[in-house]
Symmetry: C2
Subunit: 282 residues, 2 copies
């Protein structure tokens, strides 16, 4: 498999970055994951917009040309990896670059950011989309700039691992008594036909798939409330589901071993899934 | 300059890690910085103990031999870099290792962790220790496992950079209305002869230098209170100072442009500095 790293397409086994890269010593960078279906990049513009917002948020000074070249690089990469047919996912990461000596302050003058892209074949979790998944509730221990899609992902990996060790698929993170996100997806609840989700503040990542769900809800006449779901209300919900780039739309049927609604995927999530698939696979 | 990376001593310019290293894509690792004076490693045992606690905290499965070899590797490194005379700092980082494909869950089975060490000459901030430094107050936006010395350091780098852009030396981080830490040091206040510092909970890193300060306070008969300093109490303090491995003991004389105490380093911090230097340079 080939990857792109700082100007070159190389075998992933040869793709190496300096130990002085601030991505390695500080987690000082951002990332995006984009779905590709038969060569079509889904919501590419939205991912690039969020990428630029992330760079601005961390004050990473990437040349405009670096960003402008990303669509071309992405296409060349999936071509080289034979991902033009079927499904793939493209991972993109930009760090602040390599700087010596290691100092918390940004390098001054700024150094060239590191640009890394990889692509891999992707298999949607079709079975889970039908059956739904189980989750545990965990404390949301993240920092308070969750709106930035950074590679400071330890709390997310720890929560996901905690779920795995508990024998379930994912986790529902709780901060200040309300549901925020899963470690790698946004969360929606349904009660009496109304969709509930955490507002797009600094406490969640404003997911591209989340945005798509909101567009679908609007088109389908499903009312949306940006009132966070309180932890004690979880089991009063009719439905609960995750949304995310690699998660798609995934019903959550059990939390902490207890059923949500009927314990089966509900009608609202099924509608959202259908409409989402129409957009993704159009 | 040579560094140590996964079994080899190599030129720092040749020291490269895979783009699949979880340190690079998740910030999934821990680090330590140890001071070396004329070949003597200061508080080495304490650093190694904290390292082991960090590995346990993140469930990184490093072989016992990997940890046991660190003192020898460190010594070989400073020898190769001619840091046996004078002052140096040794940086050590362990990540969960390289794993494909990228998944939040830990690799299963576990992979070999990445071990990286570097050494560099060190110049103490002697002048700042005498004159004291200025700082701004910033929000402590970190996650809630600050007790782990991880490389998820974005909030720290952002706060340090914010200080630099404000024209001051460092920052004082405030969470829930109380002083927690600086981006790279612990904080102590002095009021009526009593030392105040944030208790060693999950909201601060339990610094090795902080621990040394507490030992000095004990030996000097300076009473210590682990009551956090409330933000509104900062300017009622007689003294304020930072403690850290590369910071040493540093008086803070101005916060947000307003003086602490007399606006000059006080008598308690001077006593602590003297006693600290006796231990460091003995």
């Amino acid at each position: 498999m080939q990857v792109y790293l700082n100007g070159s397409y190389i075998d992933s086994r040869d793709a190496k970055i300096s130990v002085g890269d601030r991505g390695f010593v500080f987690g000082d960078g951002i990332y995006e994951v984009t779905r590709v279906v038969n060569g079509n990049f889904f919501r590419e513009k939205e991912h690039l917009t969020r990428l630029k917002e992330g760079l601005a948020g961390l004050k990473i000074e990437a040349d405009i040309s670096m960003i402008e070249n990303i669509p071309e690089i992405s296409r060349e990469l999936i071509k080289r990896n034979n991902h033009l047919k079927g499904e793939a996912a493209v991972y993109l990461q930009i760090t602040r670059g390599t700087a010596w000596p290691r100092t918390h302050n940004f390098p001054d003058p700024a150094v060239k950011p590191t640009l890394y892209l990889s692509s891999s074949p992707f298999s949607p979790h079709t079975e889970l989309h039908k059956t739904g998944v189980d989750a545990i509730s965990v404390a949301d221990i993240r920092w308070t700039r969750c709106n930035l899609k950074t590679i400071n992902l330890l709390p997310n990996t720890l929560a996901k691992q905690q779920a795995k060790e508990a024998g379930v698929d994912s986790a529902i993170m709780i901060r200040d008594g309300v549901v925020t996100e899963s470690p790698n997806a946004n969360i929606f609840g349904v009660k009496d036909g109304v969709l509930y989700t955490f507002p797009a503040t600094n406490y969640i990542l404003s997911g591209i798939t989340r945005q798509t769900v909101l567009e679908i809800a609007d088109a389908q006449g499903i009312p949306v409330s940006f009132s966070p779901i309180r932890q004690e209300e979880i089991f009063n919900l009719d439905e609960l589901f995750f949304s995310g780039t690699t998660t798609d739309i995934q019903p959550v049927i059990l939390v902490d071993g207890k059923p949500i609604g009927t314990g089966k995927p509900g009608s609202v999530v099924k509608t959202i899934q259908q409409e989402y698939n129409k957009l993704l696979y159009k």
